[in-house]
Amino acid sequence: MGEQTVKKRKSDEQLFDTVVNVLAVVILIVVLYPLIFIVSASFSDPALVLNGEVYLLPKHITFEAYKNVFQNEKIWNGYGNTIIYTTVGTAINVLMTTLAAYPLSRRDLPGRGVIMFFITLTMFFSGGLIPSYLLVKSLGMVNTMWALIIPGAIATYNLIVMRTYFQSSIPWEIQEAAHIDGCSNWKLLTHVILPLSKPILAVMVLFYAVGHWNSYFNALIYIRTKELYPLQLVLREVLLVSQADAVDSSVGMESKILLAESIKYVVIIISSLPVLVMYPFVQRHFVKGVMIGSLKG
């Protein structure tokens, strides 16, 4: 190999690295810009935002919109409801998923293949929206929080993730040894398996909790009373539905419209904040969950 080709190759490598890094920076900007803009807009004078004068950093910082949102009872009520739905819902989710995942992870359980088959089948074929709606209605759960919790008590994908974890990360020998020592299956689950399964329990809590926090559609079809609205439905009203109202309003309402516009930025922030604040601490677990679910499944 001549010196010439070695040199050429080195500069090719450098060029490649530069292209890679530039592309990565462009992607970072594309992802981050909208997020930064929302934060800046929430602190800026709404008139400047509406005139398109805010590009990156906030201009004429004001907390008017925040004050308004903090005084808004509808939003606090939605927040409260969502916290309740998320807590109760996630607790039931994790309990039910564990109850199903553990026995199905046991290779000495007769019939587990058949049961697994019937469970997996539901991932590919379902009755669809209308029969499910009629079922929930006939069970008398419409307009109660149970309509948001019970029909989604188990996510089959999560069940499979958890079962895979039990099978692949907890040595079968431990379970056999505990059995020989006279440990019952319940005790085995609560005293041996679960303490060894903290990572997967964390993943389940996170997946389910974020799901509850962000869901709106079930509430849209099942919840009629505004006092029971979860946060996402309140947001839908503020962000999407009121848009039309704001446009229809007369010119004299100008300042009100302006405020309504900047309130939108604020509600986006305060509703996403809990998940985003949690994010740096837990993203490791999320990644783990995705990987267990996809690669070993």
Partner: protein, 316 residues
């Protein structure tokens, strides 16, 4: 490999007795399973049973069983309806374009992140790109409205700075699919790339070394080592994507839909919601939902079979 020590006629009985014994000794495991199984029967198989209303004229007063059978009437009505081709085209095209544009991007992103030399920088890119995944659909659509607003939305401000007229993006049927798919890419590319990044980290480093010795440049190493290394994962995810081909993004589409863009935003699942739940035409829309599911399942089976033959990877 039967045991020869046991007499032939005694074998089945002792086998079933052993099975019985092993079931009884694990009764508590079945007890644990009881609640989940009942739940699956009620909430997954219950609606499947309820699907029969697609072939009946369901009236809430009579209940599912007592409502009269009408055969395929609802299906026929749907296929002959004015909306049929529009719904079918929108459903198929949105998903086809998603598969074409949104599916490869996480793969490209993963390959890109894998090529970044600095470990810290690659971690930063990775962690930042999956932040948008945690934003709710409602907020996502709210953000679209603010960003694409003809009044003060940054996109239109930039357009105007270049002297273009403001565009009412969200009220336009022509822009709907682009916006829908583009924002999906923004929101999910990082999250979906996690799997590929994990798969890439499992590729044997010696393969890269060997390719380098053979004189392969960076691009060639990506093409001949990285891509084949993650191909099984790509195929599996592709099959899964096709598996819900007909219902992707329904919640988001519903929020983005308005009278001005309905021409290209009306898909089968939103139609089922608006006509079924809001207008109460249960039987008709249950039939439409069934039509949708059947196409879906057929596609899944077809693609799976194809993948098993061509790529030797499949779901079952």
């Amino acid at each position: 490999m039967k045991s020869t020590a046991i007499p032939v006629d005694a074998a089945p009985r002792s086998k079933s007795r052993r099975l019985f014994k092993s079931i009884v000794s694990r009764y508590d495991l079945y007890l644990m399973l009881l609640l989940p199984i009942v739940w699956y029967l009620v909430f997954h198989y219950g609606p499947l049973y309820g699907l029969q209303i697609a072939f009946k004229n369901f009236s809430p007063a009579k209940g599912i069983l007592a409502s009269p059978w009408v055969g395929l009437e609802h299906f026929q009505r749907f296929v002959e309806s004015y909306y049929f081709w529009r719904l079918l085209w929108n459903t198929v095209s949105i998903n086809l374009f998603s598969l074409l544009f949104a599916f490869p991007i996480p793969i490209l992103l993963a390959l890109l992140i894998n090529e970044i030399r600095s470990k810290t920088f690659s971690k930063i890119v990775q962690n930042v790109t999956y932040i948008p995944h945690f934003i709710s659909v409602v907020v996502m659509v709210g953000m679209l409205m603010l960003f694409l607003s003809p009044r003060g939305g940054p996109v239109n401000s930039i357009l105007q700075a270049f002297g273009a007229a403001p565009v009412r993006f969200l009220d336009s049927a022509a822009w709907f699919k682009t916006i829908f798919i583009g924002s999906n890419i923004w929101q999910n590319m990082g999250w979906q790339s996690i799997i590929y990044i994990a798969a890439l980290s499992g590729v044997n480093p010696q393969l890269y070394e060997a390719a380098k010795m053979d004189g392969a440049g960076r691009l060639k190493r990506i093409w001949h080592v990285s891509v084949p290394g993650i191909l099984p994962v790509i195929v599996i995810l592709l099959i899964l994507d096709v598996g819900h081909f007909m219902n992707v993004g329904f919640e988001k589409i519903l929020l983005m839909q308005n009278n001005l863009n309905i021409q290209s935003s009306d898909v089968i699942s939103t139609f089922v919601y608006t006509t079924g739940i809001l207008k109460g035409e249960y039987s008709y829309t249950a039939a439409i939902g069934l039509f949708n599911s059947v196409i879906n399942l057929a596609l899944l089976v077809l693609v799976n079979r194809f993948a098993r033959k061509k790529a030797e990877t499949s779901l079952w």
